[in-house]
């Protein structure tokens, strides 16, 4: 394996070879911080021995010239984890960031979980990264102290130097790296972590993305830019309906196109589809354009598929009918039925949200080479280990024989956790005997996505004389993500923690339910996932109750949340573990509501905005981060919605890069605008109706919020997510603002479906 890889690596022209770099560094006597202090559970999960001695470093090394190389094991798709985690190591190592380079990890279970999703890169790895850096610092101090013949306790560090306090003598990290490398790795209890007050990078405004200079000069290497010498280009005509197989195809005209070499059929997956290739006919060509052009001349006839029954309008009716019937109970507090039976004022509402496509600016793309039973791939993937597993499964080889290098991702939003296009490249390479680059068109991207699910929600409340609910029933129905992994999955068990089984309101009787649904397209995670429709239903409904009670929306929301407390959630498994470490704290929830209201000047402005203008609010905790958003909406004479301002308050616990967090939440407001104003994917007879940015619009600068203010709550709580949590409160806050502006309640997205004037 090693030989082949080395050979292949020599062939890869542009992206840097981590192995090659490490090898060079090792030979030159670098200090390599061994993998030995990766926590036991990470090893235990794989049941494998620690890293072999020829490549002992997982996380960092220091070269004799002082250059520190830190390995980023999570993918960079724009959320900043490739910068944040190395910054944490740098801080505890007391290194100088300007002397740090970041090297991207290949897919390898020794890094633990590399699936860069769920907004948990910093949350899950903050403590470990601190420990890695701090351990290195202790070893460098020991090495310098030995050289000086003084006790290590008499030494300290300043960025990139060990300092002997009494004499003021200094040794650079590079100067003691080789000696430090020979020392035993100290035990965790002998490694002090910096007090927060001494952090130089964690939480500092000066942090900026490691890749920023390469990005603005066009030198950054995305998946679209990866190449292998001798590679051919492929564009794949996929079955229009999920699961269709090729009946026959005619490639005569395609083969006449200049630059087209041949066509290759790819088998349609065996259900469940998981991340397997969809199947279809690949056009192989000398360059991307020839492959695209040749594909236009292909004639393919497809077998039938059971999913050809998929039509969005009747499917919606089915979902809505299911939402009106009792479903699986996922949380129960008190007795909702008894409370409803008592009568009083009953309020009901139904909400609907359509499928969405991710539409990352970089469409799916990958380059792979199959040789001698092994695969080397370069891909913009959120999950290189899934690349290994998927390719191994499809080709019947061992996953250890699949090497996946990760480029920068031109956006991910969850789409790039699913590596079907990488598997396509590997399958084609095996057939062709040469490296293959598969490039999806935008049309492929939108029509063959793993779609954000379509959802119907039914809400019912009994309201007391004070306007507060005495009972609250919520039911949600949608094809679950589980259907991607099991054709039998009908209930969204894995999505209930995404804003459905954890309503933070102070209501004595509450029940949350989930009804069954079939799938007809591939369903997958999209930035904040089920939180999008769950928060839309819950916070639109909360606002409906506020208005029914004739109360101010912010005041009413605070009443709903109730007094500061830890909300008792009867959770199991990972969610229970999260709840232990990250209890749902209504004091933090209230605080973000209060800050968003204060910063937007809600009390003064929201009441007197005049015709066609209004403010709305929503608060939602997701990925363990508390977020409240106030949106100001302006509805013009044509019924078009404009967004003059957005104010978001965020409590994400301990943070690493504040300006990046503001950028994430500014971006979430734009992403939220896209799904609220335009986002809709529909199907006709199993075929997706949309294809490119003309009929699947995403927000342009002229429709984006004019001004987004992000206020970060100072907190020493453990770090929580930042990539996704900005999204869920946005659409309901906007629709609540539209109600304030027009008196029209928006109960389905996109809101262009609702006539506003």
């Amino acid at each position: 394996m090693k030989l082949m890889e080395t050979k292949l690596m020599e062939n890869v022209s542009r992206p840097v070879s981590r192995r090659g770099f490490l090898h060079a560094a090792l030979v030159s006597g670098a200090f390599v911080l061994s993998a030995r202090f990766v926590p036991e559970p990470l090893w235990a999960a794989e049941g494998e021995a620690p890293a072999p001695p020829f490549e002992p470093s997982l996380w960092m090394l220091i070269a004799p010239d002082g250059t520190v190389t830190i390995v980023a094991h999570r993918s960079e798709m724009g959320c900043g984890s490739r910068t944040a985690l190395p910054l944490v190591i740098t801080d505890e190592l007391d290194a100088d960031w300007s002397k740090v380079r970041v090297d991207q990890a290949i897919g390898d279970p020794r890094y633990g979980d590399q699936d860069t999703d769920g907004s948990h890169s910093v949350r899950s790895y903050f403590d470990l990264m601190r420990q890695v850096g701090a351990t290195g610092r202790v070893m460098l101090i020991s090495a310098a102290a030995a050289q000086w013949g003084v006790p290590p306790k008499d030494c300290t560090t300043e960025p990139h130097f060990v300092v002997h306090r009494a004499s003021g003598r200094k040794l650079g990290y590079g100067d003691v790296a080789a000696a430090a490398a020979k020392l035993p790795v100290p035990k965790k209890e002998d490694v002090p972590l910096k007090p927060r007050a001494e952090w130089r990078y964690i939480g500092k405004e000066s942090n900026s993305l490691f890749d920023l200079p390469e990005i603005v000069t066009g030198k950054a290497i995305f998946g679209m830019d990866a190449t292998m010498p001798g590679m051919v280009y492929a564009s794949v005509e996929h079955p229009p309906v999920l699961g269709q197989k090729i009946k026959s195809y005619d490639d005569k005209a395609a083969l006449k196109v200049a630059g087209v070499q041949k066509t290759v059929a790819i088998d349609t997956f065996k259900p469940p589809h998981q991340f397997q290739p969809l199947g279809g006919v690949a056009v192989i060509a000398d360059n991307t354009w020839a492959a695209f052009k040749g594909r236009k001349s292909l004639k393919v006839e497809w077998e039938s598929s059971p999913h050809a029954v998929y039509n969005s309008a009747p499917f919606r009716k089915t979902l809505e009918a299911t939402s009106r019937e009792p479903g699986k109970v996922v949380r129960n507090v008190g007795d909702v039925d008894a409370a409803f039976a008592k009568g009083g004022k009953i309020i009901e509402a139904e909400y609907y949200t359509p499928h969405l496509a991710h539409a990352s600016m970089e469409p799916p793309v990958a380059v792979a080479e199959y040789r001698d039973g092994k695969v080397l791939a370069w891909a913009p993937t959120q999950n290189p280990q899934a690349v290994q597993e998927t390719i191994a499964g499809v080709l019947g080889i061992k996953k250890e024989d699949v090497t996946c290098h990760v480029t920068l991702l031109g956006g991910g939003f969850g789409r790039k956790s699913k590596p079907d296009q990488v598997a396509e490249a590997a399958v084609l390479s095996k057939q062709l005997g040469k490296p293959v680059k598969v490039v999806w068109t935008r049309e492929d991207d939108i029509q063959f996505d793993f779609f954000h699910s379509v959802a119907a929600m039914y809400m019912k409340a009994a309201v007391g004389p004070d306007g507060k609910p005495t009972a609250w029933l919520q039911r949600t129905v949608y094809p679950p993500i589980g259907s991607t992994f099991s054709t039998e999955a009908k209930y969204a068990d894995d999505e209930m923690g995404l804003g459905w089984n954890n309503l933070p309101f102070d209501i004595p009787n509450h029940r949350a339910e989930n009804g069954p649904a079939d799938f007809h397209v591939r369903i997958g995670w999209l930035r904040s996932v089920a939180n999008i429709y769950h928060a839309f239903a819950i916070h639109s409904f909360a606002d409906e109750l506020a208005k029914a009670a004739n109360k101010d929306s912010v005041q009413y929301l605070l009443e709903l949340i109730g007094p500061p407390r830890i909300v008792n959630l009867d959770l199991k498994g990972d969610e229970a573990e999260d709840a232990k470490n990250y209890p749902l704290d209504t004091a933090r929830l209230r605080r973000v509501v209060e800050i968003a209201a204060e910063k937007s000047n809600w009390a003064k402005r929201s009441m007197n905005m005049g015709k066609g203008r209004g403010m709305g609010i929503a608060v939602h905790r997701s990925f363990l981060t508390y977020v409240a958003t106030v949106v100001e909406a302006e509805v013009d004479a044509k019924g078009q919605v404009h967004i003059p301002g957005v104010w978001t308050a965020v409590d994400a616990g301990t943070i690493v890069s504040p300006d990046n967090i503001r950028n994430q939440f500014e971006g979430a407001a734009v992403f939220g605008t896209s799904l609220a104003l335009f986002g809709e994917i529909t199907a006709t007879n199993g075929v997706i109706d949309q294809s490119n940015f003309h009929n699947y619009q995403i927000t342009r600068m002229n429709r984006a919020p004019r001004q987004v203010e992000v206020h970060i709550v100072k907190s020493e709580a453990p770090p929580a997510g930042v990539g996704e949590p900005g999204l869920p409160p946005f659409a309901p806050a906007l629709c609540n603002a539209v109600f304030a502006a027009t008196g029209k309640r928006v109960r389905e997205l996109p809101l262009s479906k609702t006539k506003l004037v």
């Binding site: 920023l212 603005v216 600016m361 970089e362 935008r442 500014e666 342009r700 600068m701």
Partner: protein, 149 residues
């Protein structure tokens, strides 16, 4: 044979005259700073300059650039005031669309030394950013305008 210049260098092309400039730049000239986003001039990720004006290279055929001077992001000497402003405002998230945004912004500032918000919106609304960095793009253009004033 089509003759033209890319980043000041003489080039010739005798392949498919319908090939979009984008794919010539990326696959033939190996200038990958220019990105593929939509293929039909709806997203601006492929923006380059033809004789100084911003064009969408995905929808400009090779036969249309005969005699033209093409400038890509690689032909912009760093750090151009626009790139500098992009760094200072810390515009990018994923970064994929940003070379197209920068090329569009450079062309805008060449025509209009001090654009208003409205003028920036008009010039930049053909360039999509799925990460949603528009607010920072606007701020960076204002800053670059100040810098070059």
């Amino acid at each position: 044979m089509i003759r033209f210049k890319v980043n000041g260098k003489e080039k010739t092309f005798d392949g498919d005259p319908d090939m979009p400039l984008l794919w010539y730049l990326r696959d033939v000239a190996e200038l990958t700073g220019t990105k593929f986003g939509c293929g039909i001039a709806l997203c601006g990720a492929c923006t380059v300059h033809q004789n100084g004006a911003a064009i969408r290279s995905c929808s400009t055929a090779m036969k249309e650039i005969s005699g033209a001077e093409i400038t890509t992001i690689e032909g912009i000497a760093p750090m151009h005031p626009v790139q500098k402003a992009w760094m200072e405002i810390r515009v990018p998230q994923c970064g994929y669309c940003q070379t197209g945004q920068i090329m569009q912004a450079i062309a805008l500032l060449k025509e209009n030394k001090n654009p208003s918000d409205q003028e920036i919106d008009t010039a930049m609304s053909g360039n999509l950013c799925r990460c949603g960095t528009y607010q920072r793009i606007r701020a960076a253009i204002h800053q670059a305008a100040k810098e070059t004033a």
